[in-house]
């Protein structure tokens, strides 16, 4: 095995994007992956890039910038990753939710984002199968969708044309440091690759890759489950999801939804999205179950129950499959995108939780900027790993 300018570890959406953007910048890059391309989280997720579910500020900024990256790449790449921009619809169940939503939209509009409130009448026009008792919603025009698998393959195939080398089925066993404590190489089960820079794009497995050099990276696997319907006539035209969940997701807002015991127990939030093949994906939930991705019947039932509440027609449609995956939850709900001060040459781009597809575009671009010593598109000091300095984290996460 040769030596490379950079070794990127992990070939999910984030890792492949980082590898592409670095190669494009002129670096000689090796992409190392334990399994196949997109065999982990990026093939066990949904397919959207959204800004509507981001907090105002850097979260939304990154989401929007990422969509612009995808838009450009969709034109540039010969590999079609099915990018399209149908928009998305957040729906509110109660007046209380509607009020919070209206405030949120005002703030986002002030920041210049194309979001607006819609009334029940307009919602019915957009989504005729939506439950009739909802009080309103948020329409977000830039929100997009794509095939997550194809996105990863697109990044890899396009980067290969520029010289990227892919080492799939290579398991990283250690990171070699020199006497000064800087990165010197990446040890895999099939040989060592010499490099001065390594990027940890391990997603939920990033913690493991951190431990190899004594880093305590607070990224933990968080399980999510999605159901797939049979092929049907069009049930929904875009991503539709419940606003109430976003309220309960952000811990700073004290809010409780009026949901059944089962839905509450499994932390289920309704979301639906159409696929190109005329199925739809129905999600989802978030639970800490370690790396176990077996589907659970009770969770499936809770997701179906919540789906039928918003789209009653779902009770007449068969679900043909269910799958679970682990999302890389990061302490504080913001990803880590930075070099690690203590270990020169060790970079982290991980911890995007449910936004790995969404933010992969901009993450790759930013890592390339950081590594080239350029100024990043916007201030990302909040994403620095140093924010966890002096803290230690237990291995086990529990709700």
């Amino acid at each position: 095995m040769n030596s490379f300018d950079v070794v990127v570890v992990g070939a999910g959406a984030v890792g492949t994007s980082v590898a592409y953007h670095l190669t494009k910048k002129g670096f000689e890059v090796a992409l190392v992956e334990r399994g196949d391309i997109a065999s982990g989280t990026s093939s066990h997720c949904d397919a959207v890039a959204l800004i509507c579910d981001k907090k105002p500020g850097i979260d939304t900024q990154m989401g929007y910038a990422s969509i612009q990256v995808f838009k450009e790449l969709a034109k540039e790449f010969s590999y079609d990753f099915e990018f399209h921009q149908p928009g998305s619809l957040y729906v509110c169940e109660t007046d209380q939710e509607y009020e919070v939503a209206a405030d949120y939209v005002k703030q986002q509009q002030a920041d210049g984002y194309a979001m607006r409130m819609v009334d029940p009448y307009e919602m019915q026009e957009m989504e005729p199968y939506l439950a009739k008792d909802l009080v309103g919603g948020i329409w977000t025009e830039p929100d997009s969708s794509m095939s997550p698998y194809k996105l990863c393959f697109a990044f890899v195939e396009e980067a290969k044309k520029l010289g990227l080398k892919v080492f799939d089925h290579h398991t990283v066993q250690g990171i070699k440091l020199n006497e000064k404590g800087s990165v010197e190489g990446v040890i895999t089960d099939r040989g060592t690759i010499k490099t001065k820079r390594v990027v940890n794009c391990g997603g939920p497995w990033a913690r493991e890759l951190g431990k190899m050099v004594g880093l305590d990276i607070p990224i933990f696997p968080r399980k999510g489950t999605i159901l797939i319907s049979e092929k049907t006539a069009r049930v929904c035209n875009q991503k539709v999801h419940e606003f109430g969940y976003m309220l309960s997701k952000f811990e700073d807002i004290n809010f409780k939804r009026n949901v059944s015991e089962l839905v509450e127990k499994h932390n289920v939030a309704f979301n639906i999205e159409p696929t190109k093949a005329d199925n739809f994906l129905l999600g989802g939930n978030r639970e800490y179950k370690g790396f176990d991705i077996n589907t659970e019947i009770e969770v499936m039932r809770a997701i179906a129950e919540r789906g039928i509440r918003f789209f009653p027609i779902i009770s007449e449609i068969n679900m043909i499959r269910a799958y679970s995956g682990v999302r890389p939850y990061c302490e504080g709900h913001l990803p880590i995108v930075s070099e690690v001060e203590e270990i020169p040459g060790y970079f982290i781009a991980a911890g995007h939780e449910g936004d790995g597809i969404s933010l992969s575009g901009i993450t790759g671009r930013m890592v390339a900027q950081i590594m080239a010593g350029e100024e990043t598109d916007f201030d990302i000091s909040k994403l620095n790993f140093s924010r966890f300095k002096g803290q230690t984290f237990a291995d086990d996460m529990a709700e």
Binding site: E296, I297, R301, E316
Partner: protein
């Protein structure tokens, strides 16, 4: 589709058997006979599996019902199960096998009225059988092209003729027997093609259809099916030593149905979904779950019997089912270990008998390999 109401939706049973074919019914009977509470889940409107389309008499020893027709064996099994109080859910499909041995079961024939129940079994027997392999050629999805097993179900169970002029692909016993039965049912089998140089099944079956005038083309394959809305013509041709079509040897045959008898593969999805260790063995039809001498898989309490664990035939399926039934009765404390051992030995002797002779030896070796692989697996885990 509706869920049984309430959060408390779990039904518990000592033994749940998935699949009411010969292996599943045999397991259910042996366990119930010894006092276990047994539920059988079957996807069809009647249990008995493939036995009910086997209108022909079985070969073999008298101990294994030689001279008895499959349908009669099926009828006896169902009667015995009923007398023993085995509960049977018909029109019920196991749609998933989850942790804690929970099975999600969808029951009903009408989409709007289907219900889903979750059953937890202390012991689970996976006896789903096998599915037919397909052969892909241009036009293979045209209506009128089907598995030979499907054609057999149509004539023997549903009493519907799949076509008048039928091309059979494959000369294993299924291809040969179904050809003969199609003729009995009033169809004309216009040809039988076989890619191998020799006929795969028993000569006695092949002679029957050859005597009836069916042209048998060995070293031949189907190149293409033609027709609009339904298959009207089949193009067949010779293949060379490397199984490649020989240009210029094409023949066009007028047909209205093509039946494909290209072997079977284990329906092992539930076992795989549950994490049971599997191995690929071409003799057994592909990926099949490993098991021990009790038919228990690598997942404790989950048993695999019949074609699921390697495609064979009805008699071996029955015996494997019995083996699991006896082992389960012992595991549940219904009988002593000694009693079980005596019974299991008898069953193993009969299984060895069934897996002997020119047609059984390869299967015997394959099943031995399977057991050896399982032992290696357990040793590695210790």
């Amino acid at each position: 589709m509706a869920w049984e109401s309430g959060v408390q939706f779990m039904i518990k049973k000592e033994v749940v058997v998935i699949g009411g074919g010969p292996s599943g019914m045999a397991a259910a009977i042996e366990a119930a006979k010894r006092g276990a509470e047994v539920l059988v889940i079957d996807a069809n409107e009647k249990a008995g599996g493939q036995l009910f389309k086997q209108i022909h008499k079985f070969f073999g020893s008298s101990e294994h019902g030689a001279g008895v027709r499959g349908i009669d064996i099926g009828r006896d099994l169902l009667k015995e199960a009923e007398e023993l109080g085995v509960e049977v859910w018909l029109n019920s499909v196991a749609i998933g096998l989850f942790a804690e041995k929970q099975i999600a079961v969808e029951t009903g024939t009408d989409d709007a009225e289907k219900i889903v129940r979750v059953v937890e079994g202390e012991k689970i027997v996976i006896a789903c059988g096998a599915s037919e392999n397909v052969v892909r050629f241009q036009g293979w999805t045209l209506p009128g092209i089907m598995g030979a097993g499907a054609a057999q179900t149509m004539i023997n169970a549903n009493r519907v003729l799949p076509g008048k002029k039928i091309l059979m692909v494959g000369s294993g016993n299924v291809g040969l027997i179904v050809s003969y039965q199609l003729m009995q049912a009033g169809a004309d089998v216009v040809a039988l093609v076989e890619a191998a140089p020799n006929i795969g099944g028993y000569v006695v079956h092949a002679s029957k259809i050859a005597r009836a005038g069916v042209p048998i083309y060995t070293r031949h394959t189907v190149l293409e099916a033609r027709g609009e809305g339904r298959v009207k013509e089949a193009v067949i041709c010779e293949v060379d030593g490397k199984w490649q079509p020989v240009p210029g040897t094409e023949k066009v045959i007028e047909v209205d149905a093509i039946a494909i008898a290209a072997g079977l593969k284990p329906l092992a999805e539930l076992a795989i979904m549950n994490g049971c260790k599997t191995k690929f063995d071409p003799i057994l039809g592909g990926w099949a779950p490993l098991h021990d001498e009790n038919m228990e898989s690598s997942c404790s309490g989950i048993y695999v019997v019949g074609d699921v664990t390697g495609v064979e035939e009805a008699n071996t399926a029955l015996e494997e089912g019995r083996l699991a039934g006896v082992a389960i009765a012992a595991a549940l404390g219904k009988i002593t270990a000694e009693e079980a051992e005596t019974e299991k030995k008898k069953i193993w002797d009969r299984l060895d008998g069934l897996r002997s002779g020119p047609h059984g030896e390869a299967r015997m070796k394959a099943k031995d390999r399977q057991l050896a692989d399982f032992r290696q697996l357990s040793a590695a885990e210790i």
